[in-house]
């Protein structure tokens, strides 16, 4: 796939999403699925493919006639100027909020597992500076970085899953009966809400080439994510059982704790956890790029430095001030986040498609 100068390919864009999603998935999926779907939770990744594919088709249809445009231009042609500006204002606020939440999650994870005595504010500040510098550079760099990191993560996850496989208790994963149908369907919601981040990805659509392959690569990304979610659930629920898994805030940490390579190399959680930094970096940077692009569309300011610095400060302040502890973040995520995500990133594009088809602009 030949890459146009100044743009990333759709393949790279999906890789960024996959990589970015590994950070929240580790925290959310095993815990949430164990709580709702119990031992049948491993079915969730298979079912999430259905709404996922629908969303990919919706996004693909929206961009059929807008190959060189971003989501902003698509919405402009569908909804007109005023409604688009309002939608993008809401998107902007929500993206900034998500960015600060993921920044805080990064801090909580490291302070809670590796750097017990570290100053949270300093840690978040360090990450924000790094991300702030990176966002001023080319978007292509994030695409390239994600390509390399994804390979690394695939190797890492496969190693962990293979190492943990002998310790998995099959009785933790069955029986599965028709009574589990509704809980499993309910557990699809948080998982799908994460996948819905492909919609805000298209805010950067004018920096993405080969959008004609949006559907093909979208489905591939969905399968990769489903496989990843399956590995997560199998290794967590399979190892500890749903009743124990739902009690942990970060259950995968304990899975990593149980990894033993060749019966001699153990307690590698520090090594694995520290590699998660890459995923945290990707998701914060990804959201910051989107926030920057949204600000660029809404504000008449040309120089990016004038909105990147305020954005970084706002995100940092929100991360430090709004979320007080990891439980608060968790509460926020389970009660509000998923519903708003689905509303903004899945329902609005669907409405846009319907309106666009009626008006014959998409």
């Amino acid at each position: 796939m030949e890459i146009t100068k100044g743009k990333i390919s759709i393949r790279q864009a999906y890789i960024i999403v996959i990589l970015a999603l590994t950070a929240p998935s580790l925290r959310v999926i095993p815990n949430y699925v164990a709580r709702i779907a119990k031992e049948a939770g491993w079915e969730t990744p298979f079912l999430v493919i259905i709404p996922g594919v629908i969303l990919v088709y919706v996004i693909n249809s929206l961009f059929q006639k807008h190959q060189e445009d971003s989501l902003y231009e698509v919405f402009m042609s569908v909804f007109g100027k005023t409604i688009t500006k309002i939608i993008f204002l809401v998107y902007g606020i929500w993206i900034v909020f998500l960015c600060s939440m993921y920044l805080r999650m990064f801090g909580e994870r490291f302070v809670g597992t590796l750097l017990f005595n570290a100053n949270m504010r300093a840690l978040l500040g360090l990450m924000m500076i790094f991300v702030g510098i990176a966002v001023l550079k080319k978007f292509e760099t994030l695409g390239r970085l994600s390509e390399i990191l994804l390979l690394f993560f695939i190797i890492l996850f496969t190693t962990v899953t293979l190492a943990i496989l002998p310790q998995i208790h099959l009785e933790n994963l069955y029986p599965v009966t028709y009574y589990d149908t509704l809980p499993v369907l309910k557990s699809v919601l948080p998982v799908f809400s994460l996948f819905s981040y492909i919609t805000p990805l298209m805010i950067l659509g004018d920096k993405i080439s080969h959008k004609d392959k949006l559907k093909t690569y979208g489905k591939r990304a969905l399968y990769v994510l489903a496989a990843f979610f399956l590995m997560l659930i199998l290794s967590t629920v399979g190892l500890f059982g749903y009743s124990v898994s739902q009690q942990f805030i970060f259950p995968y940490y304990f899975v990593l704790n149980s990894v033993s390579l060749f019966g001699n190399v153990e307690r590698l959680e520090s090594l694995f956890i520290s590699t998660w930094l890459a995923s945290d970096f990707t998701i914060v940077l990804f959201f910051l790029f989107m926030a920057k692009q949204t600000a660029q569309k809404l504000l008449p300011i040309k120089k990016q430095i004038f909105y990147v610095i305020p954005l970084c400060i706002v995100i940092y302040v929100l991360a430090v001030m709004v979320f007080r502890n990891v439980s608060q973040v968790e509460q926020f995520a389970s009660n509000i986040l998923y519903y708003i995500n689905i509303g903004l990133f899945a329902l609005i594009p669907l409405i846009a498609l319907i309106v666009g088809k009626v008006r014959k602009v998409v």
């Binding site: 100068k5 390919s9 750097l115 970085l145 390399i148 307690r267 520090s270 090594l271 520290s274 930094l277």
Partner: protein
Amino acid sequence: MFNLWQIDRKVKELPQITIKGKLTSDKAKEVLGDSNDVLVKDIYTGNKSVKIQAIGIDGLIDSDVIDNYVLRPFTNIALNKTEKDLYEMCKNGVIYHISQKEIKDINEAVENILQGNTVVFFDHLEKAVSFDAKNLPARSITEPENESVLKGAKDAFIESIRVNTGLVRKKLKTPMLRLESFTVGKEAVTKLNIVYIEGVTDEDLLNKVREKIKNIDMNDLISAGKFEICMKDYKYSLFPQLLFTERVEKFCANICDGKVGVLIDGLPIAYLLPGVFSTYFQAPEDYSQNYVLSSGIRLLRYICFIITLVLPALYIAITMFHHEMMPTDLAISIIESKEGVPFDTAVEIVIMLVAFELLLEASLRLPKTIGSTISIIGGLIVGEAAVNAKFISPAVVVIIAFTGITGFVIPNQEMSNALRVCRIFLVICASLAGMFGISFGLLFILYYLCSIEVLGVPYMVPFVANGGKNMLKDTIIRLPRDLFGGKDD
């Protein structure tokens, strides 16, 4: 000669030398000054009003050729001829020489003389003709000193550009081979050739190389470093962006793969552009061995790359921050070895890394005959004594030794040097925050590597920005060509 710091300081630069004046031998002599190697020969015509002079530089010209094939025919035909007649005859081939050309101005005349040509001036007409009869001092073609191989050709580039282009032509007998000539340098003019195969090399890439060369703003191009700094897109980057080789075989193979080659007069090496990350892990032997063996060795190089980069930092992180990662027996053995050592592990590692760099630097400066002394003094005497005196724990010595050895496995010295600096950066990160520090440092390095582009080509190609294609063709492993339709892609 090696004053690279002058590059960005305009005040130190010499002005571009432009000679103004008539195209006459007197003017040329005036510019060249009173140097005893400047040879001036009057050509007798029997007519005192006719003034023809040949000028060349002793040591650069082939006197026999000039005497027998330029001066002698001139003398034979010159009697009672006018200057114009002689000039016309000379132009029309009476003076037979394969490489002769008309000179347009005095600048070109002086440049030709300095390149080793002989210029015949027709003063009254203000015309001149240059004869290429060089006999430049050059050593004979020898074996490569730094890139020797078991199987393969033994010829290496030398300091003469014409010999080097000849060597390339000898290997690449294709009519599509192109050599484009450029002259660079304000004061000391240096010739360079870009070499490529038309139809194989990307035209955009070629244009970028041409543009870069045209924009070289230097007084001279005598040292390799000056050329490199002018061609680099990321001037202050640690990582090499130009691949160089002294092997003709490697140069030609890369030209066939679509790279652009650059040959510089006076340098016994050739450059290949663009030099992306994976090319620094390729060695000439890889292509003369069985693909399984080559792939294994290539994979080993990448593993060594990771080890040499992170091992000291990892040791610090494990021993200072994450003791739980060590198997119990290993932990006990490290604790025992550290008994009585007054320094922190991080300080020990830094001391040993500095000592290692010192040994390396000292062994480079010493003559070959006594170079081995350093390894005896450093490795055996100082190392052994430092351990016995409890300055350093034996475990750290093992770690640094292993780091050093794995570093030497990387075929390209410039990449190896870049890793030495990155290694120290990671040691500092690990000393501050253990595994988190290492991750942070590695992420920083990787992000930087992904941001680099060499002449518009991403540095990490084909691992990135290539649609996932050819990632394993000739990178981490070397697959047989049959798997790719029996041809290069």
